[in-house]
């Protein structure tokens, strides 16, 4: 790099740029938080769905599945599983694990009660209603 461009000029660009773009990020985040009520389906985030999220987290479902495309890529996307499979299938599925099919990927049994399964279903109903700008491309996730 040319010597006319000094180290202290470079340093100033760094500090100036960092501060400016961090503040811009904060500003955009603030705006996002204002816009969220229109998109994040909070009206369906009831007590049951909140408990469902807690069950989702404490069983580490994200360690095999993606949820809205984030997580692990070992098992099906679940953000839209409520739409794909419906509540009864979801409950029956979770209860009947593992399939024990030789060589097939396995999902553990978490010994959940019926109430806990209802909470999970409520959570999936809530996630399926979030406005994700039409992602995923189709129902398979």
């Amino acid at each position: 790099m040319s010597s006319a461009f000094t180290k202290s000029a470079a340093r100033n660009i760094f500090y100036g740029g960092a501060v400016f773009f961090f503040l811009l990020l904060v500003g955009l985040s603030f705006d996002t938080m204002q816009t969220l009520p229109k998109r994040d389906n909070r009206e369906n985030l009831n007590e049951s769905a909140i408990r469902g999220k807690h069950i989702w987290e404490t069983r580490n479902c994200i360690g095999c599945h993606t949820l809205l495309g984030e997580g692990a890529y070992f098992a099906p996307e679940l953000g839209n599983v409520y739409t794909r499979r419906g509540p009864d299938f979801i409950k029956a599925w979770i209860q009947s694990q593992p399939t024990g099919v030789p060589g097939r990927r396995q999902m553990p049994n978490f010994n959940l009660t019926d109430a806990q399964l209802d909470d999970l279903v409520e959570f999936f109903k809530y996630t399926a209603g979030i406005d994700t700008a039409k992602w995923p491309p189709n129902i398979e996730g």
Binding site: I13, L24, T32, W56, A72, Y73, P108, T132, E140
Partner: protein
């Protein structure tokens, strides 16, 4: 070694390498579970192996960063570390906490672990990469703060250079953004939004400062190029990193319920994120070409050049591949993401830590460089691991393209599991290549025990 207290770096580096080995073993277990689905089930379910794999990765990189800091900050500041005892105490705390956490994952059902460790008081667990129980998260904060205090006191009382200031700033950023891991709102969209303030603002933000400082430090040492030149490069690189990377966070806000303007902000700014990585490549090659000395540690020079190239490929090229919103619509959460995650983490952060270890370990063991024989072995390890990672990335990319085609684009979309069956061949090839990687890592570890006549500057 110029200062006695730099010696605390050594246990940090040894622990880093040990945990790296553990990480790869669990990677291989998962790689097999991808194709033999019931392998080790139910003893080690996939999600448990994954937590161990990714958490070990993060912990060994943190050990590497800390070791690097304890080595380079005294040298740059031209004084002894403020408190070597504190640094050593933190080493043991971090190691014990890390080991206990991994054992917890392996031995206790996750729900029980959560209950035992106070997750009901403050729920932070069960989110990707942030699976650690509350006490571990608090422990990470304590260890980081003690380290920052120790290092800041050292720098305050000593010489201030661009390298030690940038390193310190990067580490402060690391600690501060980690605090977002304690924020876990019930609202999934907000949860995800701030989750990225840890994950993205780490790897595409403050960690780039740490990486830049480490690379600059080693390049000064092995090339003898003028500090003014190197530090100017460093500032430009990290300026570009933050200018592009902060708003670049938007490339994670396309499909998680956030407003659609992020598709523009995220695409435009993250499209510029490869620039700092490309500059790192230029930086490394330029400095080595302008070298004023032939450093006897040629392995360290190789690692430094390799970091430049592989970070650009993994983060820059593979990042760009899926960062524009219309592309990401199809690739989001597919094997493409896994391909990029692997090469980026390896090429940037694993390799920069290995660069630092390669340069410092011989010195910490009382010689300027290892014997020719040991270096040749280390360079074999470099090539085996690096080429294996290139192929792992290519196989996962192939699997990803097919997966997307079958499951997301074809007129009659296939279900997830059916599509996985179709691409199994690529998973097999990834696993075999993983074994090559493992061989490289084994050779790397063996190279530390190879004796022979010390290499000298030519």
């Amino acid at each position: 070694m110029k200062y006695q207290s730099q010696a605390v770096a050594k246990p940090y580096f040894i622990a880093a390498i040990g945990l790296f080995l553990g990480q790869i073993l669990f990677g291989l277990i998962m790689g097999l579970q991808y194709v033999v689905g019931d392998y080790l089930f139910p003893a080690i379910p996939f999600n448990v192996a994954r937590m161990v794999h990714t958490n070990l990765l993060i912990v060994w990189l943190l050990f590497g960063f800390m070791g690097a800091a304890y080595y380079l900050i005294p040298e740059e500041s031209e004084r002894e570390l403020y408190s070597p005892k504190l640094a050593l105490a933190m080493f043991w705390i971090f190691l014990v906490a890390g080991a206990a956490t991994i054992l917890g994952y392996l031995l206790v059902p996750y729900a029980t672990l959560a209950e035992m460790t106070g997750n009901d008081i403050l729920a932070t667990m069960g989110r990707e990469f942030l699976e650690q129980p509350l006490p571990t998260k608090v422990g990470i904060v304590i260890v980081a703060l003690a380290m920052l205090f120790n290092l800041s006191m050292t720098v305050l009382k000593g010489r201030k250079t661009a390298i030690n200031l940038v390193m310190l700033l990067g580490l402060w950023g690391l600690a501060i953004f980690f605090l977002f891991s304690f924020y876990n709102p019930a609202n999934l969209v907000k949860d995800k939004f701030y989750w990225w303030w840890v994950v993205h603002l780490w790897v595409e933000g403050v960690w780039e400062l740490i990486m830049g400082a480490m690379l600059a430090f080693v390049l000064i040492k092995v090339t003898g190029v003028d500090r003014e030149v190197i530090e100017k490069w460093l500032y430009i690189i990290i300026a570009m990193a933050l200018i592009s990377g902060l708003i670049g966070t938007g490339h994670h806000y396309y499909w998680i319920g956030t407003p659609e303007y992020w598709q523009w902000w995220g695409s435009v700014f993250s499209a510029m994120e490869p620039i700092p990585f490309f500059m790192m490549t230029l930086f490394a090659f330029n400095m080595v070409n302008r070298r004023r000395r032939e450093h006897p540690n040629q392995a360290a020079v190789l690692w430094a050049l390799g970091t430049g190239v592989m970070a650009f490929l993994g983060a820059g090229v593979w990042g760009f591949l899926h960062t524009l919103a219309p592309v990401n619509f199809y690739t989001h959460g597919s094997q493409i993401t896994a391909a990029h995650g692997h090469m980026a983490f390896y090429g940037a952060y694993a390799m920069v830590v290995l660069t630092m270890i390669s340069y410092t370990m011989p010195i910490l063991r009382g010689r300027e460089a290892n014997s020719r024989k040991a270096q040749v072995m280390e360079m074999w390890a470099f090539w085996l691991m690096t080429i294996a990672m290139v192929f792992i990335t290519l196989f996962l990319t192939a699997a990803g393209i097919l997966q997307i085609w079958l499951q997301r684009i074809a007129a009659e979309p296939m279900g997830f599991m059916a599509a996985q069956d179709q691409v199994a061949l690529f998973y097999w090839m990834r696993e075999i290549t993983g074994l090559v990687f493992f061989t490289g890592l084994t050779l790397y570890i063996v190279s530390f025990f190879v004796k022979g006549e010390e290499a000298r500057a030519s």
